[in-house]
């Protein structure tokens, strides 16, 4: 910390704030001091605790311990409404707009102007026009329905809505990620003006050049705690990355095979894949025996890419080839069929992976019913045999095959999801962050299993938000940024430094300079 700011009194102070989700520690003794009239940037990689911090400040979740002091008085918010009343307004990454209401209705949603107890539409309209004007988007019609607006317009409405609430502390969580360059410039003018008006701004972004342009000071988070706070311009990009790195390696990964010669026709090949404006010209291959990692910061198109490959999205253009033959699945059902042989281990095992009230046995055979049935009738003996084999193979600890899947521990549930897809005998296995929220022991087992499956000839595409897994588990890593593959790293090139630098979209010269500095 530095002496310059000790003269002013802070508008907000977080002291020793901690938060756990089950066994996962999201924030550990975090401290943060925010001053009025300044833009304070928060930096950190995935899982560093940024979003938990914001959720606590905006009243979405409550901290387990620690104090939040606003204007010298300790506060506790039990809802977003309570935080708003205290003058803390957050612009969320996932939009908080109501799609079926008009722009003006949304801007004035929590406290519309009233006359005789009824909403005064004219006053509301003026208020909305003013707010849109202040946000730099006067061209948006206040009567338009939010659902009819493009994503970037909605984001501008979101900003206008926040301004209409007259915040004292405005939190922007990746608020520019959906905006066009022209909009970003307008928003920056607005933010700088708000700073002049004496607002405190908390700015969360992974775009380093934005932070360089806006922030007066920055705080770096790592492993749920603040590791450094520095004034703008006092640290280079490389020093910032160094501060973001530094987790101890707690996982043990199976050894990687030595690089082999590339096969003539790769088992799995993707060419020029595009979808809406969320996936841009994505091309890559995954050979039999290879684990290809997908990296980058959250929400850069990794999930959409897996869904597109698995036939969930409509209007995907480009080519998908399996063993040299065109194979663009039209649905998950087609994707898992013999001709393509694809499996997707979904992100949320509770909603997309398992039928929680149904038995472990039923869950395990859902994706491969054709293997255990004849003429549409399920052969119970064969089902029981295959289920037993898989439970042994994955060491699923369950009190029996007929107990509900929901009664298993998180780690065992995840193993059931994986086992279910192994039963379908896929050639191509797509995984969407499969180790999130499970214990280290199970993680190790999953890493070993993935390597074994690759050795048996599967091509594996593995999206993970944990950089350690990209480094420890993957033969190659593709780093996505803004829906496109920003960088491909292979073998020893996959370092935390390289991953973070490309995830933040810092130019490759900087990365090279950083690598030599290391």
């Amino acid at each position: 910390m530095n002496g310059a700011e000790s003269t002013a009194s802070p508008i907000l102070r977080m002291e020793g704030v901690s938060k756990r989700y089950g066994g996962v520690r999201a924030l550990a003794d975090a401290n943060l001091t925010v001053f009025a009239g300044r833009i304070h940037a928060i930096l950190g990689e995935n899982g560093a605790g940024k979003s938990t911090l914001i959720k606590i400040l905006s009243g979405v979740v409550a901290q387990d311990s620690g104090r939040i002091v606003l204007d010298g008085a300790e506060v506790a918010f039990d809802s977003p409404a309570a935080a708003n009343r205290a003058g803390i307004v957050c612009i969320f990454q996932e939009l908080s707009l109501v799609p079926d209401l008009s722009v003006a209705d949304n801007i004035a949603i929590s406290n519309p102007p009233r006359r005789f107890g009824m909403i005064d539409r004219r006053a509301q309209r003026r208020l909305a026009e003013e707010a849109l004007d202040r946000a730099g988007a006067p061209e948006i019609h206040p009567m338009a329905l939010v659902k009819d607006l493009a994503l970037s317009r909605r984001q501008m409405v979101e900003i206008a809505k926040a301004l209409a609430r007259k915040p004292r502390l405005l939190i922007l969580d990746e608020a520019t990620s959906a905006l066009t360059a022209a909009d970003v410039a307008k928003v920056f003018v607005v933010l700088k003006r708000l700073r002049q008006e004496g607002l405190a701004l908390l700015y969360i972004s992974h775009r380093m050049h934005e932070i360089a342009e806006l922030a007066d000071e920055s705080t770096v988070f790592r492993n749920g705690a603040n590791v450094a706070t520095y004034l703008a311009g006092t640290k280079t990009d490389n020093e910032v990355i160094e501060m973001m790195i530094g987790r101890e390696y707690s996982h043990i990964f199976p050894p990687k095979p030595v690089a082999r010669a590339k096969a003539q026709t790769p088992l799995f090949e993707v060419r020029n894949l595009n979808w809406a404006d969320r996936l841009r010209d994505i091309s890559f291959t995954a050979d039999a025996g290879e684990i290809v990692g997908l990296g980058g910061l959250d929400g850069q198109g990794q999930r959409e890419l897996l869904l597109a490959l698995f036939g969930v999205l409509r209007g995907v253009s480009g080519e998908i080839r399996v063993a040299g033959a065109p194979a663009s699945p039209s649905s998950p059902h087609a994707a898992k069929g013999k001709r393509i042989g694809m499996a997707l281990i979904p992100e949320d095992r509770k909603t997309e992976g398992l039928m929680l009230p149904m038995s472990v046995r039923e869950n395990l055979s859902f994706a491969a019913l054709q293997r255990v049935s004849k003429g549409g009738i399920i052969d119970r003996a064969r089902e029981t045999k295959l289920v037993g084999e898989l439970m042994d193979l994955l060491e699923i600890h369950a009190a029996g095959t007929d107990i509900p899947a929901g009664s298993l521990s998180g780690g065992n549930q995840q193993k059931v999801v994986i086992a279910k897809w192994l039963m379908a005998e896929p050639r191509i296995i797509l995984l969407n962050d499969p180790t999130r929220g499970i214990d280290v022991g199970t993680k190790q087992e999953i890493y070993a299993l993935l390597r074994r499956l690759a050795d048996q000839g599967a091509a594996i595409v593995f999206y993970t938000t944990d950089y350690d897994e990209l480094i420890g588990c993957c033969d190659r890593a593709l780093v996505l940024y803004d829906g496109a593959i920003r960088r491909e790293l292979a073998g020893a090139e996959i370092t935390e430094h390289a991953l973070i630098a490309s995830a933040l979209n810092i130019s490759s010269e900087d990365v090279a300079a950083g690598a030599t500095a290391q």
Binding site: V60, P80, A81, N84, D100, G117, M118, M143
Partner: protein, 326 residues
């Protein structure tokens, strides 16, 4: 873009319902042997207003993306109650009407408490409470009978100045004092927000629980208005299971025809009212074209199916198939 385009877009469902109704009713009266006369309109109005009130009740809840399967039972219960207490002198009848409306309100409160604070699914909760309400109705009127204060009944089911059906005027009055203020109040706005996106509403600091609760309460109140009107039309009370069930199901049909989205968040009670009038006119149309009344359910079903198809055309624009599953 002009102001009108936005207004038009936002009220498309309601305007379509009104247009369809006008066309159908024009076909009906022009083919009616008596033509467009006050008597024809009055008969049609009295039948239509009953369903319109129940459809309005349903609308309050459907806007919040819920459903109230007890509206028919509340109507029957309040009908039975009214046949006991809306009798005697003008004063006692007035008190009786108040009692009937309070009973409807109480039914709504019970539904709201169970659904919002008991966290039960609306379908299950309101089937259960609906059965209970009907049970009470049976206890009140094990056999059809009773009476009603006839000056009010005659006035509300008759004609004003021998031209306008009084029931329509009464319905317009209900819309003016109940729906219009509600749709412009913060709690009404909150109901739309909750139905459209509950998480966005919550994150915006909207009182989510209160908005849903209030919707069920108003639903109970509007359903009791239906019960009261049923008493005025029949001059008696009857614990009719057929009435309870058909009015509940028809209220959902009317809501859909009226352009209220079953996913919540859009539509209006005015649309639902015209949906109800439309649904009634379908039956009448068969009558004037001398078709066997046996065709009526089939024909109504087909019209409903067509309306639902039009309403769900948006499905073709979805680009992530996971969004098809709400």
């Amino acid at each position: 873009m002009s102001e009108w385009r936005y207004l038009l877009a936002q009220n498309r469902g309601t305007l379509l319902a009104i247009a369809f109704f006008v066309v159908m009713f024009a076909i009906y009266t022009s083919n009616h042997p008596a033509g467009f006369t006050a008597n024809v309109v009055q008969t049609a109005a009295n039948k239509g207003v009953l369903l319109a009130l129940v459809a309005m009740a349903q609308t309050f809840v459907v806007i919040t993306a819920g459903i109230d399967l007890s509206v028919g039972a509340v109507m029957v219960l309040t009908n039975c109650l009214a046949s006991w207490i809306v009798v005697g002198s003008a004063t006692s009848a007035t008190l009786g009407i108040l009692g009937v409306l309070l009973t409807g309100l109480a039914c709504g409160v019970i539904n709201g408490l169970i659904v919002i604070y008991g966290r039960l699914q609306p379908i299950v909760a309101t089937i259960a409470t609906g059965a209970a309400f009907f049970g009470l109705a049976l206890l009140l009127r094990s056999v059809p009978g009773g009476d009603v204060y006839s000056p009010v009944a005659d006035a509300l089911t008759g004609k004003i100045f021998d031209v306008a059906p009084a029931s329509l005027v009464a319905l317009a009055f209900v819309v003016l004092v109940l729906w219009v203020p509600y749709s412009r109040s913060t709690i009404g706005r909150a109901a739309y927000a909750v139905g459209s996106s509950e998480s966005a509403a919550y994150m915006s600091g909207v009182p989510v629980g209160a908005a849903k609760f209030f919707a069920y309460v108003l639903s109970g109140l509007a359903a009791s208005l239906g019960g009261l009107f049923l008493t005025f039309v029949t001059y008696s009370g009857e614990a009719s299971a057929a009435n309870a069930n058909t009015y509940t199901l028809f209220s959902i049909a009317a809501v859909v025809l009226g352009g209220v989205s079953l996913f919540g968040g859009s539509g209006s009670a005015i649309g639902a009212i015209f949906g109800a009038l439309m649904f009634r006119t379908i039956g009448d149309l068969l009558f004037v074209f001398n078709l066997d009344p046996l065709w009526q359910p089939l024909f109504q079903g087909l019209v409903l199916l067509a309306a639902v198809c039009v309403g769900s055309a948006r499905v073709f624009q979805v680009r992530n198939r996971l969004e098809l599953f709400p």
